[in-house]
Amino acid sequence: MTGTLTDTAVDVEGLTVRFRSKRSDTTALDDVSLRVAAGEFVSIVGPSGCGKSTLLKVVAGLVRPSSGSVSLLGEPVTGPQRDIGFAFQRAALLEWRGVRKNILLQAEMRGMDKARAARRADELIELTGLAGFEKALPHELSGGMQQRVALCRALLHEPPVLLMDEPFGALDALTREQLNAELNRIWRETGTTILLVTHSIAEAVFLGTRVVVMSPRPGRLMRTLSVDLPAERDYAQVMTDSRFGELTREIRQLLGSVESH
């Protein structure tokens, strides 16, 4: 599907995004370049308002660059992209649909083969521990379960690239760890390229093969750190790994140093 690891999945070159309105003129991103190889897991951290969400939306083709270029899987991004899965901080589910039907929205919109989509939905429901809740409405689910549904929906069409914008931000620590472990497994098993925006440094390091640290607005890439930990990660193990400690400390320093200036 995505070829070898050396293929470029996402290529951002000199990206600048300005938002103009009557009242304000904001530069959200300033000359950002980022190349993500297929199969990589890139975590993005940075102070709030530094343009992390904007970066994902540009990659998805939902926001147009003011200058610079973006390509996805070798094709320039000019409009909304279909070869992606997108998950937001809020689950954004259809409140009138049960779990399974919420997941299948993806298939309906894309006109996917019904039987195949149904099978895939059941797989994902199983994988994310939603079995038994297929018909439950969103308001009957906990926040963690709602996020699982959103994740299943984002994965249903087996997208080569998955974009996640603080998907676990609203969850309690325990649920978050659980979902992190699940996401790590899904990533290893599917080989999906993942861009994850998060405000948790631990989460960024635990999940990423690379962590991109951004500066405050206008967002620039301040530093990119490789996470030299094995691909398969166990929470208890990683947390006590000295390398994990070093990396999180370094990132915290980077973010702290900009805040004190």
Partner: protein, 295 residues
């Protein structure tokens, strides 16, 4: 429409979804039963109040605290309804017919207008002032004009019912369509959804709770529209009966007509409530979750 794609203008963000998720999981069937129970529970207070008013009416008229030609006794009204049963049923049918046709037309036209307004900024600017203007004209003032234009038949009554019921449908429809979660619309465009798919699967169902609230207001107003139309020029319908009774100082008949009009309004309101419960059980259940489990 308000572009969900690559426009970098500042857009009004969609309203946040209210409330934390609630536990429990009753299904639609249980829902209807529960709704009925809640209905009964909600009804006993108004029922008692209504009973008191009735008793007061009875006593006041029986003791002749008010003159009989002003307020008839309940018995007189009842006898009158029985005596004129077939005629009153015919006139009720005419008013009901005008009301229902007017309400249905108002719903269809109102929803279409709401879609135009919600999807197109140009239409928003062009249509909203007209809609508002149509709303603020006193309907009673244009009723005679409609009779001059369309004669004494059903047309002017239906048009009045449409005019008066139209506004709440438009306003609630626009509010509902605009309340769609912005991120859902973005998600939809990354799914490659067409505008029609997005409308049918996301925006319209999302608008239904708002819309149904407007429909409930609209249906009660439609009755008013039909009756006002009958006041101005008619030879049938409850409005006509009311005017006739008034002219003859026939208070029993007048009260009979009033009661029947109210019954039509209540009946139609209940029909819309039931339609709402069937159409959006998910919304009803959201308002009335009984905790079965705790999470």
């Amino acid at each position: 429409m308000t572009s969900t794609t690559a426009s970098n203008d500042v857009q009004p963000s969609a309203g946040e979804e209210p409330g934390p998720p609630a536990p429990g999981g009753p299904r639609a069937r249980i829902e209807l039963g529960a709704r009925f129970l809640r209905f009964l529970e909600a009804m006993w207070r108004p029922a008692i109040l209504l009973g008191l008013v009735f008793v007061l009416w009875w006593v006041a008229t029986a003791r002749e605290w008010v003159a009989n030609y002003l307020v008839p006794t309940p018995k007189q009204v009842w006898d009158r309804i029985i005596a004129e049963w077939s005629s009153l049923m015919y006139h009720s049918y005419v008013t009901l017919y005008e009301t229902v046709i007017g309400f249905v037309l108002a719903s269809v036209l109102g929803l279409a207008t709401a879609v135009l307004i919600a999807y197109s900024r140009t239409m928003d600017k062009a249509l909203y002032p007209i809609v508002l203007f149509a709303q603020v004209i006193p309907k009673i003032a244009i009723a005679p004009l409609l009779v001059v234009w369309f004669g004494n038949g059903l047309a002017p009554k239906i048009i009045l019912a449409v005019l008066i019921a139209f506004f709440p449908v438009v306003v609630s429809g626009v509010a509902g369509l605009r309340s769609t979660d912005h991120e859902l619309l973005e998600l939809s465009s990354t799914m490659g959804a067409s505008r029609w798919q997005t409308f049918r699967k996301i925006r319209f169902p999302n608008a239904l709770p708002h819309l149904m609230a407007g429909e409930k207001v609209a249906v009660t107003l439609a009755v008013v529209g039909a009756v006002v139309g009958e006041f101005v020029g008619a030879s049938e319908g409850l409005g006509y009966v009311l005017l006739l009774a008034n002219g003859n100082l026939d208070s029993a008949l007048l009260f009979a007509a009033l009661i029947l009009m109210s019954l039509i309004g209540i009946l139609l309101f209940v029909v819309v409530e039931v339609a709402e419960a069937l159409l959006i059980p998910w919304h009803a259940s959201r308002r009335s979750v009984t905790p079965l489990t705790t999470s």
